[in-house]
Amino acid sequence: MIDLTARRFRVLVTAAIALPGIVVALLTGLSGVSAFLADRPLILAPVPRTAAEAAGNRDVADVVVMSEATDMDRPAPARIPLRLHEPAMLTPLEAAVVSERAYMIRLVRDRGARLDAERLRTLRCIAQARKDRGTIAYLAEIDASPLNCDGVKIPY
């Protein structure tokens, strides 16, 4: 049994009440300073590094902003924690399909990504592999022909 003197007990009880509040205040307060000075909070506010990462993580605003200075057909490393265990090299369109949000595919196309027959086939195969009905239906509206995924490499 731990022997706590009355004096030490007073200090420990006071510390036990206060410590989490102090930690939260320091962590979030310093993060707030960074947010004010550099628009970059230090905690809980990650940002996409590539257009593919934005597309894969439902970040429509960053897709719009990044598309102004990015080749929307170029593969780039993308972390998509909700969908993939590991980062993968994906084009923004492929990432949009991985995000399982049909509106994201439309947005990426609107922002300049090209969709030829071969790319469409790849996207349909990714959607099929993910078994996501929304993106399967959206892509089927563009091309409803029977799908053959032989030889198509799923990029993750």
Partner: protein
Amino acid sequence: MSPRAAAWLLTALLALAVSASVFRIPIQVSDSAEILESVDATPSVTAAFVQGLQASRTMLRPMRQTVTKMLLAAAHAIGDRYNLVFRGFHAAAAALLIVLFTYVARPRDWSGVAALCFAMLVLTGLHTFGGMMREAYPVNHFLLIAIYGLAAFALAESRGGILVDAAACVIFVVASLTLESGLVVLAIAIAAHVSGARGISRNALVAMAALAAGYVVLRVAGLHMVGNTVGERQTGFGTEMLTTSELRARFGGTPWLLYAYTIVCSMLTVPFSQPVAGQWTAFAPWDPLAPPLFFLNDIGTSLAATAVIAWYMARRRPHDGRRRWLDPAPLAMLATLAGSAVLSYAYAKSEIMSAAGVFYALVTYLAVRELAEVLITKTRPSMRATVVLAVLFVSTAWGWRAMGLQYRLQRGAFEARSEWVLRMPPYSGPPIPSSAARLTPRLHDEALHRGRTNPYLLWPPYARLWGEN
């Protein structure tokens, strides 16, 4: 460092933390763009006030338009920087609330500072607090009501005087014309007076009551306004969230049943964190994506804080033996809780109870300060280590809830920014007809180029532990 300096340092850090995250959230499309455009079209602040008087048959909130007009004028004056002004106002108001909280709590020794640390976690970790911070309409009137309520309480605890009386009356008028919940300012002033705080005089209370009567006359006889009825907004019932049509179908003939349920649930949501907006979300069907850990933490921490408050309120003051629940802060909390709940009779909403949440945190401060002294003097030596671990466990769990606020605010920034794409053409109809959209293009541009953040890039279970997917 003195205890007082430490308390203000803690306050400054938390005010900075909350206001920085609030500031990063762009002005929203929903509930903001339309009112900004319509108020901007009015020729003056007076015209904006009049527009606010006539804006609705159920809501009397002309200060919303008035403050919006004043902030728009400020934004125009510095080159149409709308987000800087509106989000800056929201951030400053958030900081002011936290500063006022410490001012009212007035910790003087290290036990008080420790209790303040804990109470700040309760203040910012409560689900009712997030609603005041995450959204704006385009000014968050729930936050303003919490500030007015706390300011009225501070006046009631002051030495009083003619200026204090005048300030109390002005605060009441502004609060009641900001939001219906603003009427609780009168309840707070009366509760404080009944409990012995004489900063606001009896005459001022009579004047405030007369102003409240004038408010009713203006509302009913002058503007022919009506109260909310069943089915005007969705609200929870049991484990379900009912749509407006479902509410009308189920409660059209027995509205009192829904009203009674909603009032009771609104009163429960602050001390128990359930139900949320009338819906017992913790008891909904099992969702494998939302493990019950979040609910366990929310309900468990609230039960612990509420138990300490109940213990404190049942105790007697050492010098006169009067029960603590008759002290100014507990009685003001009960008045705010009951008043806000009654005013939200037609639909439950966490934000409506946010002022009550602030007073709940204030009473938590008083209760924890007293509990610390009792624990230190009365705990048997054999139990000391257990007590330290138990206290640390509860305060850490509240710390986790308070961190959740930061997550929710970053997520709020993400969603508000996304709205400026998804709720705009070609993905949705325009929020305002293009002929009337004078500010919207600038708001859109500002929103896309500020507050970058993406909560989906975090390890997913974080979000689930804070109750979101």
